[in-house]
Structure formats: C-alpha cells, structure tokens
Amino acid sequence: MSTTAANITVRTSRWLTALVGALCIMALSMITTLDGEIALPAPTDMQITLGGITTIEQTFTITRPDLVGLEIQIHPAAQIVPDLRVPLHLRYADGSPVDLVSESLSVQTAKNGVITVRFPLLVAAHDLRVPTTTLALILDVPQLQPNTGPTVTARENHQTQETLIIDGRISANRELVFAPLYQRRWADSLWPISAMARGKPGILGWPPLYALLAYTYLIILGGGIANLRRRFLSRND
C-alpha cells in the first residue's frame, strides 16, 4: 500500500515538474522587449519647419523583421496650433503604394521632442536570408503658413543610400532623424520561434507554440527512455 502511494507521489511530482517546466518555457518564450536605435543629437542637426511643406518622405532600410514602432523627432511650434495632427504612412519604398501603417500624429503629445508611434508587429515581406527591406516613411503635412508650425529634425549624412524627399525634391545628403523600434523576443536567441511563427495561420502563428512543442517532445522522449531504462535494468537484475 505504501509502495503504491509512493509511486503515485513520484508520478504526480514528475507530472507537476513537467507542467511547471512547460509553463516556464511558455512564459520565457513570451517575453519581448523593445529595441530602438537611439538617435543621439549631432552637430549637423537642422530643424525643418513644416509650414509650407506638403509631404516629407524618408526611405530607410529595416535591418530586422519585427518592426513595431518609430520614434520621430518633432518639436511643437512656439505658437501652439490646437490639436495639430500630421498623417503618417509607412509603405514599401518600391512597388505599389499600399499603406503598411497609417497613423495620425498628434504633435501636442510629443515628449522631449519625440513622438512614439506604435503599430502591430510589421511582418515585412522580405527574405530572411537577405534581411533588408527598404520602407518609406511619409508625413502628409497639413496646410500651414510657411515657416510656421512644428519642426522635424534632419541631419547631414553623406554615407547613406537612403533618400529624403521634400515635396517631391530629393534633399541630397540629408536624412530625417527618427529611430525604428523593433520587438525582440528573448527566446529567439536560442531558437527562432518568432521567425517560425511569422505569417502562419491560427495557432501556428503563436511563437511559444514551437518552444512548447519541442519541450513536450523532448520531455516525452526523455521520460520514456528513462522509464524503459529502469524497466530493462530491473529485468536484468
């Protein structure tokens, strides 16, 4: 009787350990953080006043797949225009002009001259083996008096292949100052579960599933082998 009870206790504790392990795996594979490329002030920074401008377009290359936001340097004007909103579009630089993201920036919400735009995880249709895709950030500036209104920051950059276009004219050797925000999943450094889930339908699009599947398989395999080993050893005894 006591042996049976002990067996049940051992079995239950094994199941519980496996379950706790599964919960840990799931929790760990759900942890995500934001990675931003901080745009530090530079001596060549210049302010572009939005008044009198219709559109500002800046192409940029994303270096990682999971783009989830942008931090744009924008300073409200000295004379506050109540509830000034600047429509923002994010598109592929090449191909048809389909909006990947369409937002309206409320200039008054800028904190320390920075507006953070967050959007659902952007799955860029690029080949992961060539992880670069060029996107275009477009600001549709509302009608304002010339040289009035908020300003955005641009700076000199002679190295970049990316282009700043203001009202259809290329502004050579300059770029808009902003920082892309990427989602970083810790578990990806061990196994690329985000990439595995990307674009897949239903539950297959949930990254922790892959970690849980691998874990469950290995647990069942290991548990079974240990069990069989015990059985064979006891038979040989």
């Binding site: 080949d127 060539v130 992880p131 990439a195 595995m196 674009g199 069942i220």
Partner: protein, 488 residues
C-alpha cells in the same frame, strides 16, 4: 440455487490453471501495449514538429499534389490533366511568395489573370490518395489556403503515426522475445528524418508508404502465423491501396506473393531447389523473350523477340523494347548509374524539403559508412544466427531483404528508357523507395548487431538508436531551421 454463489467464490479463490494462464496472457498483452502508449504520442509530436517547421509548399511537388485534392473538393469530380482554377493558383502563388518559396529577389506576378503553373502536374496519378485528402479539405474549404494545406498535411501526420505503430507490431510479431528490438525498430523509423519530413507532406508517397508498411505487417503475420483470414485481408487490402495510389507500389507484389507461398508451405524448402527454380525460370524467360540486337553505335545490346514486341505494342503498351535496349546499353548507362547511386542514396537518408536541404557532407559520409558496415554485419549476422532463428524469422528477413533489393532495382528501372544521347535523364530520388524504409531499418538493425561480438549484441542497437536520434535532433532543431528561418 445454493451452488451458484459457492462456485463463484470458489472460482475466485482458486482460479483454474486455464483462467490464470488467460489472465497472464491478457496482462502481458496489456503490458506490451504500454510501449505503444508512449510511442504513439511521441510519433505524433515528432511528426507535428516536422509538419510545423517546414513552411507551406516546402516539400516535393507539394503545391500540385495539393491542387489535385483541392480540385476534387471544388469540382466534385476527379480532375482531368487540363483542369485548373486560376483563383486557386493565384492564392497558392501568393502564399508561396509570402512564405519565401522563390529564391531571394524573385517574385511572381500576382496581377496576371492567368497565373503560371505552380509545379509539375500530378494528375496522371491515380486519384485514391487525393480523394482521401479531399475529405478533411471539405471541412476547411472556405478558410485561407495555408489553413487548407496544413489540414491536408494533418492526414499525412496521422498516417505517419500509424506507420510507427505498425513498425512496432511488425517487430513484436517477428521477434516476440526481443523487447529491445521491438523498441529500437519503430524508434529508428520514427527518428529517420528524411522519412518524417516526407511523411508530413502533402504527397501521394505518404499513402503508398503507409500501405507498404501495412502490407509488410500482413506479410509477417502470414509468414509467422500461417494463412489467417485477418492477415490475408490486411495484406491484400494494403497491396490494393498501394497499387491504387502509385505505380511505385508494384514492387510490393513480390513480398505479397512470397508471404502467401510461405503461409501455405510452412515447412523448410531446400535452398538449392529454390535457387535452381529461380535461375532456370529466369534463364528460360530471358531466352523466350529476348535476343541479341545492336545499338545505333554498333554495340551489342538485348532486344525483345518479335512476338513479345508485338504483344507489347498491341496490348501492354509499356515500350518494353526501348526499355530493354536501354537497360542493356552499358556504355551509355555506366556514368548514369554512378549518378543514380549518389543522388538516390543521399536523398534517401539526408535530403529534405525539395531535396535541396542538406545536413552536411559529414552526414552523407556517415550514412555511407553505416550502410556499408551494416551490409557486412548482415552477412556476419546471417551466418552467426542461422541456427538460432526460427524458419518464420528467417523468411521474414528474406522478405525484408527482397523488398529492399527490389526497391533498388526499381530505381534503376525508373531511369530507363534513357533519352537521346546528350540529354540528361531525370535521376530518381530516394523517396520513391520510402516504401521499403521499414525493411531497410530492419536490415540496418540486424546488420549493426552483426558487427558486435555476441556479448555486446544486446546493447548494440542502443548505439545505432542513439546515432539516429542525434541526427534527427540535429535536423529538426538546426538544419531545417537554419535553412527556412535563416538562423540556427
């Protein structure tokens, strides 16, 4: 009236020897199935891993195999070679593009109202497999095409899981007193990564492989248990399903006939008599049907005799003459056979996806080493164990061996007739003989045991199982991930 309860209590208190024996048998049978309770979820999870890791469309001809089943669902009849659905193709191409099916930088034109082909038309195959796939597909016909594809893959997953159960049952029947082999054979089949990859794809090979495994179980049941109706029905049904699925199942006819013969004639046959009948039969058939002819370049080759040629052209329509001429033209085929050996061997063991994903050359060479060593070990084992094995076991191993040899010969046969000089023919891949994967695994396990002295014989399968498990782990956790997801 009074005797009733007394007799019951008596029977409970001291069971008759027969009842006790029956209970012991039942208990043993339940304990036997305990292994299956572990194997089935393991196989299912292993299959699920392969199923979800490979992105949509990333198996041999998966788009067109899927298209065949999809057309059955939508048109409610078996499609002709020319039938297609532009919207389905558009959706499939869009999905293929989205899941990076095409090389970097290459995209399909999705605005074209007449989308291009999505692969090699598969509608020359019999419809049985596709009708089966159509059943679950009907339930998800309104959902996105990716969901439909994964649903179709799920049928393969179920068949893969069942094959592992069949492999276990074959082992229990062939070696009832060797629990380690009963464990190692199904696990090695489970761990064979190329097989798991194929068995979780949308492809009619999946059903042929399942039918072949079921047939093998029927055969060993017939050989070990005699002409039992269940075994006969299982073997016959499995053969029927195989033949109605793909022509690669034709090689299964030989093990089936052999098993029937051995089920009827259960006493030993003299080896020299069997060999004599085979040799004389082959020579007589060859003499009756073939003659010496000449190739275009003047070399001597074999050709059909006029009567057989006439029969072929008027009835069989197999182009036998060009096939025989091609096979016997050794000058032209010599180099091709080397190519066939390399491509079919590597694709049998260590190629994935569309045959483009490799583990590394070390794995190729390791498999060569294991196979050569196991071939030697098989001879040693055959000699060493000839007196220890029962006649049924010997016959089962003969069936495995014959199935594997026929599989290899079928690959050679598939190469012919060769095209005109200057054109490179299609070199068949190893997947065409996944039908004999289970017999191959058996021969590997037996051969491996033959490499070790008797006192190591019982632990040697653990070593090969460990190797297999390690390769499998490398494949699903690294090789496939590195290829499909760019890291690993």
């Amino acid at each position: 009236m009074d005797t009733g309860p007394t007799s019951v209590s008596l029977s409970v208190a001291s069971p008759s020897p027969n009842l006790a024996l029956e209970r012991t048998d039942r208990w043993r049978s339940l304990r036997d199935y305990a292994l299956l309770r572990w194997l089935l979820p393991l196989a299912l999870l292993h299959g699920v891993l392969y199923l979800v890791i490979a992105p949509p469309w990333q198996h041999y001809d998966e788009p067109t195999h899927f298209e065949y089943a999809w057309l059955i669902v939508v048109h409610n009849h078996i499609p002709t070679m020319d039938e297609s659905d532009p919207q389905m193709r558009h959706n499939a191409l869009e999905s293929m593009d989205r899941f990076r099916f095409y090389p970097p930088g290459q995209h399909v034109d999705l605005t074209d109202p007449n989308p291009p082909e999505i692969g090699m038309n598969q509608r020359y195959h019999p419809a049985l497999y596709y009708m089966l796939v159509a059943l679950p597909l009907r339930l998800v016909a309104d959902l996105p095409i990716d969901v439909q594809l994964y649903t179709a893959r799920t049928l393969s997953l179920i068949l893969y899981t069942l094959i592992i159960a069949i492999a276990w049952r074959v082992a229990v029947v062939v070696v009832p007193d060797e629990p380690l082999i009963q464990l190692v054979v199904p696990l090695m089949l489970l761990f064979t990564p190329s097989f798991a990859d194929m068995m979780t794809a949308v492809n009619n090979d999946v059903l042929v492989n399942f039918a072949a495994a079921a047939l093998l179980l029927g055969c060993v049941l017939l050989v070990c248990g005699g002409m039992h109706p269940t075994s006969l029905v299982l073997a016959t049904l499995a053969l029927g399903v195989g033949l109605a699925t793909k022509r690669t199942a034709v090689i299964l006819l030989v093990p089936y006939v052999l098993a029937l013969l051995w089920a009827l004639h259960r006493t030993p046959l003299r080896l020299w008599k069997v060999a004599g009948v085979l040799v004389i039969g082959t020579l007589m058939s060859a003499f009756a049907g073939l003659e010496i002819g000449h190739a275009a370049n003047g070399t001597q080759i074999l050709a059909l005799r006029p009567w057989l040629n006439q029969l072929d052209s008027s009835y069989l329509r197999l182009s036998l003459d060009s096939w025989v001429r091609s096979v016997s033209d050794f000058e032209q085929t010599n180099v091709l056979y080397q190519l066939l050996l390399t491509i079919s061997f590597t694709s049998f063991w260590v190629r994935f996806g569309w045959g483009n994903i490799i583990i590394g050359s070390w794995a190729d060479w390791m498999m060569v080493g294991i196979c050569v060593a196991c071939a030697v070990g098989l001879i040693v084992q055959g000699w060493r164990s000839r007196s220890q094995m029962t006649i049924s076991q010997q016959r089962c191993i003969w069936i495995f061996l014959i199935a594997v040899v026929l599989g290899c010969l079928s690959l050679v046969a598939r190469l012919h007739p060769l095209p005109s000089p200057g054109y490179i023919p299609y070199i068949p891949r190893g997947r065409y003989i996944f039908t004999v994967m289970l017999p191959v695994i058996w021969l590997i396990v037996l051969g491996w045991q033959g490499l070790f002295p008797n006192r190591w014989k019982h632990v040697s399968p653990i070593i090969i199982l460990g190797l297999w498990g390690a390769i499998d782990l490398i494949v699903w956790s690294n090789t496939l991930i590195a290829y499909f997801y760019g890291v690993g």
